[in-house]
Symmetry: C2
Subunit: 442 residues, 2 copies
C-alpha cells in the first residue's frame, strides 16, 4: 500500500522537475565546496546559496564570482546555469504536455492543442530541438561578442568572457565575471544589445520562438505568440521611457551620462528585471519610484516555458484582460479576434495568488530573521522569486537563515507555483457540484 | 443627442453614489473652512483632506481634531461621518440591487436573489430599516459608555465623548477627540470591547446582520453570512495571536504592559485595521513584520455593503477558495455544501486587480511627490484605500499634492473599484464570442 503510493508519487512529472532541480543544486553545492573551486574557503550555506542561485538562473550571490571562484568553480557555475536553463525550457514544455494531457480530460485547464508531440518519444525529439536551438543561438552570439572583445582582452580572454556571459545571458542567469557586473559597459551599445537580445529571446519561451519561425505572418501566429511579442515590446518600451524619466536627474545612476548612454542604459535597466538580472546601474542608489517599478517588472517576469520566471507576462495580461472584460459585462476576455476561456482566467488568478502569497510570506519571515530595512528585503524577495538576481546590495549581509529563506524562494520561483502546488495537492476524483449560493464580493 | 447621453449618465446608480460623496465632501470642506469651525486657521487643502477623511470614514487627519476643531467643527465632523457611514450602507445595498437587476439579465455576475426589495419603494423601506438598526445600536452603546465614563468626566462630557466615539466606531471612522486616539485606554477593557464590538458589527454589513437576526440557526444562514462570520472570527483570532507574538518584546508598543493588557491591546490592534482605524499603540514604533501584517489586514477590510472598505473579506476568501479549487482540479470552489459561481470568482479577481493597481499607482505617485521613506508611504496608501486611518505618523508631513493624492485614494477606497469602474466603462451591448485560443500562463 505504502509502496504503491510511493511509486505513484515518484512518476508524477511535477515531482520529477522539482527532484531534478534539487539534485542539481545538491551536486552544485558539493562541487562549489571543493577546496579547488574557490580561492578562499566558503561555508556550506554560502555554497548552497550560490549553487541554488546558479541552478535556478537567478544570479544573486553572497560573494563575487569573478574573484572568489577558481576557473573550475566558474565552470561549475556555468554548467549549473546551462543545465538549469535548458532544464527549465525542456521540463516546462514537457510538463505542459504531460499535465495538459492529464488535465485536459477533466476540464481543459491546460493547453495541449498547441503541441503535436505528446508521447515520451515526442519529448525526446523536443529536447533535441531545444538543444539545437540553444546551441545555435549561443554559438552565433559567442562569435560576435568574441570579435568585439578581442581588441580589449586578446583572443583567449575575449572568448572565455564571451562564452560565460552569453550562456549567462541566454539562460537569464545574470551572473557576470566582472565585479561590478555590467556597470562598466554603459557606453558600449554592442555588449548591451547582444546580451539583452539574448535574454529577451531566452525569456520569450521556446513555444513562441518556434511559432515565429514556422509561421512567418503575424496573422497566422497563435494568440499566445501574439500576446508575448506585443506584450514584450509594449512593456519594454514603456519601462524604458519610465525609467529614463525617473532616473534622468539621479547623478548616482544615469544623471551624469551623455544622452545616448542614458537612453541605452535606461533600455537595459528596463529589460533586465524580466528576468535577466544583469545590472548597469547601482540599485542601492536608485530612486524609490524606480525601485517600486522594478519590483513590479520582476514580479511579471518573462514567458512561459522559458528561461525566465515571475508570474509570466501572459498571466499578467490575461488578468488585466479579464478585469476589463468583467467591467464591460463580457463573459470572457478576448484579444485579436480570439476569446480566452474562463479556465485560463481562473488559472491566472491561482498563479497570481500563490505568487503574491509566496512573496508576502517570505518577506514577512525575513523581516523577523534579518535586522535589515524592509525595502531592500522586499526587493530581494521579488528578485529571488522572479529569479532575477538584482539586489540593493544586501545579499552578503543576510544571516544564514536569511540565505536559506532566499534559496527557497529562488527554488519556488524557478519551479513555479503550478509545479509546487501539483506536488502538494491531489486531484479530487469526483467533480460533483453543490447548489450555487451567492457571495457578495467587493 | 448630447443631452440624451448626459441624462442617461446622470441616472446611473454608480454616478449617484460617487456624486453624493463628492457633494458631501464639498459641503464638509466649506463648513470646516468657516472661521468658527477651527481654533486656528486651516488651509483649503487641509479642510478638503479632513472633510474627505470624515466622509469616507477613514480617520486620517492632518491636524488633531480634539484641539484644532471647535465644538461646531467637531459636530460637522460627526455629521460627515454619520452621513458617510449610513450613506455607504444604504447606497451599497441599493446599488447592489439596482446593478444586480441590470447585470443579472446578462450574466448574473451580481446577486439579486439575496434581496426582495428591488423597486425604488423597496430601497426607501430598506433605508428606513438601516436607519432604525443604526440608531438602536448606537443608542445602546452611547448609554453604556456614558455610564462607564461618568465617574471620570462627569455627565455632560461623558455623554458627549460617548456620542462622538460611538458614532465614530460604528461607522468605522476611527476619529477620536483624544490627542493620542485610544492609546490611553490600553488598560480599559470596557472601552476596548464596546468600541471594537461596534466597529466589528458595523463592518459585517447590513445584509449579514439581517440574516443573523432573521434566521437563528447557523445552518440556515446564507453562504455569504457563514463566510463573513467564520472568516471574521478566524481572521481576528489569528491576527490577535500573530500581533501578540510579534510585539511581545517591543517596549515601545506592548512590551512593558501587564499580560492582560498585552492580550487586550493585541486583540484591539488585530481588529482595528479592518477598517476602524482607532489605535491603542504607536504605529511608528511597531516592528516591521507587524506593519507588513497590518497592511495585509487593511487591504482585506470588512464586509460588503458595510461601513468598512478594503477589497472585502469575501473577495479575499473567494480568491483563496478558487485558488485551492484550481489546484484540486475542481471547476468551481465550494464551501459549506454550496458552490460558488465562476462569475463570482472572476468578479473577485477584477476587484483585487483594480485594488492592487490603485495602491501601486498611488504609492508610485507619492514616492515621486513626497520626500518621505517608502514604508510609511505604502502604509498610508493601504490605510487610505481601506479607509482605515492608521498611520505611521506622516499624515501632517504630506505636501499639498500628497494630501490631494491621499484624498483621492480615500474616495476611491470608499466608493470601491466596482462603482469606480461602472462609472468609467460602458457595457458592450452584444455579447458575442470569438473562437477560443490557448494562452499558456504561469
Ligand atoms: K536571473
Ligand atoms: K476608518
Amino acid at each position: 500500500m505504502l509502496k504503491h503510493k510511493k511509486r505513484k508519487l515518484l512518476v508524477s512529472p511535477p515531482l520529477i522537475i522539482a527532484g531534478s532541480f534539487l539534485c542539481l543544486i545538491a551536486l552544485g553545492t558539493i562541487l562549489l565546496k571543493l577546496p579547488f573551486a574557490t580561492t578562499t574557503s566558503v561555508s556550506w550555506v554560502d555554497a548552497l546559496f550560490v549553487a541554488t542561485s546558479a541552478t535556478t538562473v537567478t544570479g544573486l550571490s553572497v560573494f563575487d564570482p569573478g574573484t572568489t571562484l577558481t576557473l573550475f568553480g566558474e565552470l561549475v557555475l556555468l554548467f549549473l546555469i546551462q543545465c538549469g536553463g535548458i532544464g527549465t525550457m525542456t521540463f516546462a514544455v514537457a510538463i505542459l504536455l504531460l499535465l495538459g494531457k492529464k488535465v485536459g480530460l477533466q476540464n481543459r485547464i491546460y493547453l495541449q492543442e498547441s503541441f503535436n508531440q505528446q508521447s515520451i518519444g515526442g519529448i525526446v525529439k523536443l529536447t533535441k530541438l531545444i538543444l539545437i536551438f540553444v546551441l545555435t543561438v549561443e554559438s552565433v552570439a559567442i562569435s560576435l561578442l568574441t570579435l568585439h572583445w578581442i581588441p580589449t582582452y586578446g583572443f583567449s580572454d575575449a572568448f572565455y568572457y564571451s562564452l560565460f556571459h552569453v550562456v549567462s545571458a541566454f539562460n537569464n542567469a545574470g551572473f557576470s565575471l566582472f565585479a561590478d557586473n555590467l556597470m562598466g559597459f554603459t557606453s558600449d551599445p554592442i555588449v548591451n544589445l547582444i546580451l539583452s537580445s539574448l535574454f529577451i529571446i531566452g525569456g520569450l519561451g521556446f513555444v513562441v520562438v518556434v511559432d515565429i519561425f514556422q509561421k512567418k505572418s503575424f496573422r497566422t501566429w497563435s494568440l499566445h505568440t501574439k500576446m508575448m511579442v506585443i506584450g514584450t515590446i509594449g512593456l519594454n518600451v514603456f519601462a524604458a521611457i519610465t525609467l529614463f524619466l525617473l532616473e534622468f536627474n539621479n547623478d548616482s545612476t544615469i544623471g551624469k551620462m551623455s544622452l545616448w548612454d542614458k537612453i541605452f542604459t535606461s533600455y537595459f535597466t528596463a529589460v533586465t528585471p524580466r528576468t535577466a538580472g544583469f545590472n548597469m546601474i547601482d540599485y542601492g542608489q536608485m530612486e524609490d519610484p524606480s525601485l517600486l517599478f522594478t519590483m513590479f517588472l520582476m514580479f511579471i517576469g518573462g514567458g512561459s516555458a522559458s528561461t525566465a520566471s515571475g508570474i509570466k507576462l501572459t498571466t499578467f495580461m490575461v488578468t488585466l484582460l479579464a478585469t476589463f472584460a468583467f467591467f464591460r459585462f463580457q463573459e470572457e476576455p478576448s484579444l485579436f479576434g480570439r476569446s480566452i476561456r474562463k479556465e485560463t482566467v481562473i488559472r491566472s488568478l491561482a498563479i497570481s495568488t500563490v505568487s503574491l502569497a509566496i512573496v508576502f510570506l517570505f518577506t514577512f519571515a525575513l523581516t523577523i530573521s534579518e535586522k535589515l530595512p524592509l525595502l531592500p528585503l522586499v526587493f530581494e524577495v521579488f528578485s529571488a522569486f522572479g529569479t532575477v538576481g538584482l539586489t540593493m546590495g544586501i545579499t552578503n549581509q543576510l544571516s544564514n537563515i536569511g540565505e536559506v529563506l532566499i534559496s527557497i524562494v529562488m527554488f519556488l520561483g524557478r519551479i513555479g507555483p503550478l509545479t509546487l502546488f501539483f506536488i502538494l495537492t491531489k486531484p479530487k476524483k469526483v467533480n460533483y457540484r453543490y447548489p450555487y449560493d451567492q457571495v457578495i464580493t467587493g
